[in-house]
């Protein structure tokens, strides 16, 4: 597969590895946050840790939309689909996220709720067209990548006068999360970020510039292939060694400084900033999420069905918040691997294979006895 296989080459990996090992010699080490779950996944799946020197300390970031969704948001969707005769469509990733009362959308389905897995917002519109007498709600989640497709769907529903389609909007913003990370202890101690890949194809590299400028953090935007991640680490090591803090773009084949203006425009037409939004782990962050603009408010399932968001506390043993801030490693959660497993996740980080806990459990736990 062109533009994939080349970025998974073992010989090149060995070269980059050797460079990193040779150059990452600072005795204080390199505390680097891979912002995205996509990076976390690549690191785990390819065993990249084995190719890095001990001076490199990789810290998982909050860039997994499923992981950062607070419990109350899933509760809200479960309540809606259980109490009203709606069809709830969503991406498969969301189905198994645990919420209050040992529930999840998958379990709600198993008890009779009409929850459907879709691959694309197109499918959700299709479901609405095929069930004209029923209400179809799309549970929309994701960062700036997944938001434009939702915007397209809402615009299409608007244009065709659809009465039975709406969304539960949980779209969130990456730069706001990065900003929030920088305000916590762990964040302040970071030396640099492996910056978002696909999010950056949409928003461009420009939004990160203030983190370099104002917080003196090195940022290298990197693709999700293993060589991308390794190269970004090398580039970060070099910036740090040189005492620089700038935004560099390793993923230049897909990311420009301005990003995808067409997509940005579409999003801006349909959505506007929420005053604040609660994130799991990061708490309430102002202007960190989107809501539908007033002219599209009839597609807002929250208003349409009067289902309010009610914040709830995480499971009392759950350390997802700390994990998402990079304050704890998965194996430091005392229910990791016992009560909380991929089959029976207690926290959201154990659900997606991009979640830090799931990634460590599924790919990395052989290291445990070794460290």
């Amino acid at each position: 597969m062109k533009y994939l296989d080349e970025f998974r080459d073992a010989a090149l990996a060995e070269h980059i590895s050797a460079s990193i090992t040779r150059e990452a010699t600072s005795s204080s080490g390199y505390r680097l946050m891979e912002f995205c779950g996509g990076h976390t996944h690549a690191i785990s799946r390819y065993g990249i840790t084995d190719l890095l020197p001990a001076t490199i300390r990789l810290i998982h970031g909050p860039g997994c939309p499923v992981c950062v969704l607070p419990v109350g948001r899933i509760n809200q969707a479960v309540r809606l689909v259980q109490q009203r005769d709606v069809i709830l469509c969503t991406y498969a990733d969301v189905l198994r996220v645990p919420c209050s009362g040992q529930m999840s959308l998958m379990r709600a389905r198993s008890e009779g709720a009409d929850v459907r897995m879709i691959y694309s917002t197109k499918n959700a519109l299709q479901v609405a067209r095929e069930n004209p007498e029923r209400q179809v709600v799309f549970f929309a989640i994701g960062f700036e990548t997944t938001t434009p497709p939702t915007a397209v769907a809402v615009k299409q529903a608007h244009a065709s006068g659809m009465e039975n389609f709406s969304i539960l909007c949980n779209h969130v913003l990456t730069p706001a999360a990065m900003q929030a990370i920088l305000s916590v202890r762990t964040g302040k101690m970071l030396d640099g970020f492996v910056g978002p890949a696909h999010v950056s194809t949409v928003i461009g590299s420009k939004p990160y510039e203030r983190f370099a400028a104002e917080h003196s953090k090195a940022v290298v935007i990197a693709g999700f292939e293993p060589l991308d991640v390794m190269q970004a680490i090398l580039m970060l090591v070099r910036q740090i060694n040189q005492g620089r803090a700038t935004v560099e773009n390793e993923f230049s084949r897909a990311v420009t400084r301005e990003g995808n203006l067409k997509a940005q425009k579409l999003v801006a037409e349909v959505f506007e900033l929420r005053d604040a939004f609660e994130w799991r782990g990061l708490g309430s962050i102002s202007e960190s999420a989107l809501k539908l603009r007033p002219e599209f408010s009839r597609f807002d399932a929250e208003l349409k069905f009067g289902v309010d968001y009610v914040p709830v506390r995480d499971h009392k043993a759950c350390e997802c918040a700390a994990v998402l801030c990079g304050e704890k490693r998965p194996q430091e959660c005392r229910i990791f691997g016992t009560v909380c497993t991929p089959e029976n996740p207690v926290g959201s980080c154990m659900v997606s294979s991009e979640g830090a806990c799931a990634a460590y459990y599924s790919y990395g736990r052989f290291r445990e006895e070794l460290t």
Binding site: M1, A10, Y46, G47, D50, P65, L95, P342, Y361, Y363
Partner: protein
């Protein structure tokens, strides 16, 4: 008195009465199943088939088949239900002989589809040299089934001296795989609603008893044979590691995956290690015999792309690990949850 007209026609649909035990069911059995499966035992129409005495230990296994869609590139639920059970019987080293087949039909299912499925089963059984000697037909109300579910049970006979079991893998043993992985599961997924894609991907569904016979006849010290079906290669290897109390170390680059299967997996965020196969086997054998066994396997049409993919290790934690193609290492865990397409 003239004979009543047939109770089903190709254009018709299954009705509740076809499963009620009455004349409509008797006619369905007589006109469809007996004709297609065509053997003396079914013809007798008794409560059970009386089979000849066999010599050797008996091997018995069953599987229910609930695949959706029912028809896919390279096969359908019919041949799958025959191969699936033949293969489980074969994995113990036995020669499969007889099958039973039980149908749970959903009211409204098209007889044309049922005929196609039954014909596929009949030809799969014929090709494999097994007879479908007993069966059952139930009809459930519309909305309480999914077209058709087929449960098959197979028995086979095991000759003296063959001892295969999942708990016999030993550190140092080699792990051989008979061919590419993920073909079946991706062929099915490519026809799944909301996910449809086009790709030259074909289910590998096939009966493996011929390959098994060659493996057993070649003199290699084989410890375990297993078909990596649901849960994929990853889960099958974990099962063996669990049963034998060992670890494994795989070599990612040695595991064959067809290009389009790999591409479709990438696209949907799936890992071929967890995708189902229906015509592949894993063999664990003594290290000295691995080269010879691999040759023997490759000589069989169903295992031309057979590969040595790793070895058994000592590991009290029973981890299946893998050297990644990048040069790192990771766990290859059991399948957790369901293999659903990811968007993140």
């Amino acid at each position: 008195m003239p004979k009543p007209r047939p109770l089903y026609s190709r254009r018709g649909r299954v009705e509740i009465l076809h499963g009620s035990g009455g004349r409509a069911m008797a006619q369905l059995v007589a006109e469809l199943f007996k004709v297609a499966f065509d053997n003396a035992w079914l013809e007798q129409g008794n409560d059970a088939a009386v089979l000849p005495q066999v010599s050797g230990r008996l091997v018995m296994s069953c599987d229910s088949h609930v695949v959706s869609p029912l028809f896919f590139e390279g096969g359908d639920i019919g041949c799958l239900s025959v191969h699936g059970t033949i293969n489980d019987v074969s994995m113990m080293g036995a020669q499969p002989l007889y099958l039973t087949a039980s149908f749970i039909l959903e009211e409204g299912f098209l007889f044309a589809d049922l005929e196609r499925i039954v014909a596929s089963m009949a030809s799969a059984a014929r090709d494999a040299g097994v007879s479908i000697v007993a069966g059952d037909t139930k009809v459930v109300e519309k909305g309480k089934g999914d077209g058709v579910f087929i449960t098959t049970t197979g028995i086979g006979v095991l000759r003296e001296g063959i001892v295969l079991s999942g708990d016999l893998a030993q550190p140092g043993d080699r792990i051989l795989l008979s061919g590419t992985i993920g073909d079946h599961g991706m062929a099915v997924l490519s026809r799944r609603e909301n996910l449809e894609f086009d790709a030259p991907i074909f289910s590998d569904t096939a009966p493996l008893h011929g390959l098994v016979a060659n493996i057993l006849d070649c003199g290699a010290r084989v410890r375990v044979l297993r078909d990596p079906t649901r849960g994929g290669l990853a889960t099958t290897l974990n099962e063996i590691a669990q049963q034998s109390g060992v670890g494994m170390l795989l070599d990612e680059s040695a595991i064959p995956v067809k290009k389009p299967v790999e591409a479709a997996c990438e696209f949907l965020g799936l890992d071929p290690l967890y995708v189902a196969n229906e015509g592949k086997l894993v063999a664990v054998c003594a290290p000295e015999d691995a080269v010879h066994l691999l040759e023997v396997m490759r000589a069989h049409p169903l295992a031309r792309e057979a590969a040595a993919i790793g070895e058994v290790t000592e590991d009290s934690r029973r981890f299946v690990q893998m050297a990644t193609r990048l040069g790192g290492r990771r766990i290859v865990d059991w399948l957790a949850g369901e293999p659903l397409p990811r968007i993140c």
